[in-house]
Symmetry: C2
C-alpha cells in the first residue's frame, strides 16, 4: 500500500520527477561517476570490493546531483564541482557503511549489507577510507569555504547519529527531539551539498544561504517521507521490508505522533515492542493499524510537504531557469515518491 | 619480564627520555589540551562522555608533541601548530575508537574500552565526530598543504587497517606484508604529524621531507616495540595483558619471524592457536617460549633500532638545537621503552 499523494502544483499527468535534474547534470555526473570509481581504487583489494558493493548498488546519487545543479544554477564555470560532488557522495557512502554497523542492518539498498559479507570491521574501515578520500578531493578543489562547510557537516552528521542513539528505543522522544536528529543525520549533508555550489562559484552570501536552506529543508522532507514509507511502501520497491524501523526499535515521527495521540493500551504496546524489542506475530500489522488510526503516516508526509514548501521558497530569489525548475521538481519528487 | 635494552649512545644513568620533549613543548601543549577539551564539547552529551573517557585516560600525546616540536624546530612563529597538533590527536583518538570495534577489544590504555560501556555504535560515531572536528581544525589553520598531508594520511591509515584485516589470522604473512600494514596503520600518522611542522613554517621541501622521514621511521620503530612488548612487557605497565595480540590472533613481527624459523610442530601450533583461535591453558606461555627460542622478540626490537637510526639520520641536516636533541631522545625513548 504505497502512500500516493496528489500533486498540488502540477496539472494531472505531469507528475514532477527528477528526470529534468538527471538530464541537466548528465554530462557532469558521468565525470563524477568516473571519479568515484577511480577514487575507490586501492592496492588493498578489499577496499574497492566493499566500496563498490555499496556504490554499484545504485542509489539515486541525489546528493551529488544537487551539488552539480546548484553549481550550474550559480553559473559556475570551473572544474571543482565534480570533485565536490564525488566527495559528497563518498561522505554519504561512508555514513551508510557506518550506519549499518551501528544499526546491525542485514540489508541495504535491496542488497545484503556489506558488513554481512565482509564483517563490521571492513564496513568501519572502508567508511574511514572513503571519508579520507572525500577530504582529499575537497582539498584538491582548493576552496577553503567549501572545505569548512563539508568538514563541519561531517561533525554535525555524527552528532545527529549519536543523538539518534541516545533517543533510541525511547518512545517518549518528542517531535522537536526527533527533528534535531534528522536535521543532523540527514538534512545537514543535503544542506552542505547544495551550499557548496554557489560557494565555489563565489556567489553572494544570500545565494549561498538560499541554497543551503533549500538543501536543509529538502533533506528534512526526504527523511520524513522515508520514515513514512517504512510503514507504507511496498517491500520490493523500498529495497527493504515494511516495518524494518519498527523491528529495529527506531523512533521515527510516525511513532512519535501515534504514541502521543494514543491511549494507554497503545502506549503499552509501543513500550513493549519498541523499548523491550519483544515483537511477535501480527505486531507489525498492529503497529501499522494504530499508525493509520491516528493518521500518523499521513501527517508525517504532511509535515514533509511543509518543509518542501520552505525549500521551494528558498530558491525564489533566483530567476527562473531550467536548473531552478529541476530543483523545484526534485522537491515534489522527494515528497511524493512512493519508494 | 620487560625487555630492557642498554642505551648505546648515552652514558649510564642518563637514560634518554621524553622529558626534554615534554618540557620544550609544555606551554603549547597546555593550549593543545585546552583545545582538545573544548572541541570534544557537544550539546549531545554522549559525545564528550565517550571522547573524554578515552582522552582523559592519558596516552602520552606523543603525536601532537611531535607536531609542536617539528614546528618549533622549523622556527615557526604562528598559531596554526596548536590546531594541527590537536587535529593529529583527534585523528589518533578516532582511530583508537574504531580499532576497538574492529578488534572487539575489551581494554584500552588500562581502562575498559569505550565500546564496552557505550556500545560499538557510540565508538563508531564518536570516532566519526572527532574525525570531522580534526578536519575542521585543519581548515581553520588555512594551510592547504597541511590539509592535503593529513587528509591523505587518513586514507592511508584506513588502508593499513584494512590490509591488516586481510592479513589477520594468516600466519604465512611475510615481513614485507607486515611492514606495509604498520607503515599504514601507525607510521603514516607519525610521518604526517612531523611533516606539517615545517610545512606551516613554509620551510624548504628538503626539511619537510626530513621531518616526514623522521616521523615515518620513528612510527615504524614505535609499532615494532609495541608488538614486542605485547609478548614481554609487564601487564600492569602495559595497560593490557601480555599475550593480548596472541589471543586475538594478530599476526605481528615476532610471530612472522618465529613461524618462518620454526619447525613443523611449532607451525602447527601457530596455525591452531592463531588461525583457528583454539587457545588453551599454557598456550600463551608456550607461545612466548617459542618466540624466545627463536629470538623473535629480541630481533623485532633489533629491527626497531634499525628504523630508529634512520629516523635520527633524517634530522642530520638540521643544526643542533634543544628541539633537535629532544627529537633524537624521543627515538631512543621509543626504542628502549619497557611499557
Amino acid at each position: 500500500m504505497g502512500v500516493v499523494l496528489p500533486f498540488e502544483d502540477k496539472a494531472p499527468g505531469t507528475a514532477a520527477g527528477i528526470d529534468d535534474l538527471v538530464r541537466l547534470v548528465k554530462a557532469d555526473m558521468a565525470r563524477v561517476n568516473a571519479l568515484i570509481l577511480s577514487r575507490t581504487g586501492s592496492r588493498v583489494t578489499m577496499i574497492p570490493e566493499v566500496a563498490n558493493h555499496l556504490i554499484s548498488s545504485g542509489g539515486k546519487r541525489l546528493r551529488p546531483m544537487l551539488t552539480l545543479a546548484t553549481a550550474a544554477l550559480s553559473g559556475y564555470g570551473g572544474e571543482g564541482h565534480v570533485r565536490l560532488a564525488a566527495a559528497v557522495e563518498f561522505m554519504h557512502t561512508a555514513t551508510l557503511l557506518h550506519d549499518d554497523v551501528v544499526d546491525a542492518s542485514t540489508m541495504r539498498r535491496g542488497k545484503i549489507a556489506a558488513r554481512m559479507m565482509w564483517g563490521n570491521e571492513a564496513s568501519v574501515l572502508v567508511g574511514d577510507f572513503l571519508l579520507g578520500q572525500a577530504f582529499k578531493m575537497m582539498v584538491e578543489t582548493g576552496s577553503m569555504t567549501a572545505l569548512d562547510i563539508l568538514s563541519s557537516a561531517a561533525t554535525v552528521i555524527a552528532e545527529g547519529e549519536v543523538l539518534q542513539l541516545s533517543a533510541a528505543k525511547n518512545v517518549e522522544t518528542n517531535e522537536d527531539e526527533y527533528m534535531a536528529v534528522i536535521r543532523g543525520k540527514t538534512a545537514e549533508l543535503f544542506a552542505a551539498a547544495c551550499e557548496v555550489g554557489p560557494v565555489i562559484a563565489d556567489r553572494p552570501k544570500a545565494e549561498q544561504a538560499a541554497c543551503r536552506s533549500y538543501g536543509m529543508n529538502l533533506g528534512i522532507a526526504f527523511q520524513l517521507v522515508d520514515d513514512a514509507l517504512d510503514y507504507g511502501g511496498s517491500a520490493s520497491a523500498l529495497g527493504k521490508n515494511v516495518g524494518d524501523d519498527f523491528r529495529e526499535g527506531k523512533i521515527t515521527l510516525p511513532i512519535v505522533l501515534a504514541f502521543r495521540r494514543g491511549d494507554e493500551a497503545e502506549r503499552a504496546f509501543w513500550r513493549r515492542s519498541l523499548e523491550t524489542g519483544e515483537i511477535g506475530d501480527g505486531d507489525v500489522e498492529r503497529a501499522i493499524a494504530i499508525l493509520r488510526r491516528h493518521r500518523a503516516i499521513e501527517d508525517t508526509i504532511e509535515r514533509a510537504r511543509h518543509y518542501g514548501k520552505i525549500a521551494c521558497d528558498a530558491l525564489a530569489l533566483f530567476p527562473n531557469s531550467a536548473h531552478k525548475g529541476a530543483l523545484l521538481d526534485t522537491v515534489e519528487f522527494c515528497v511524493s515518491r512512493t519508494h
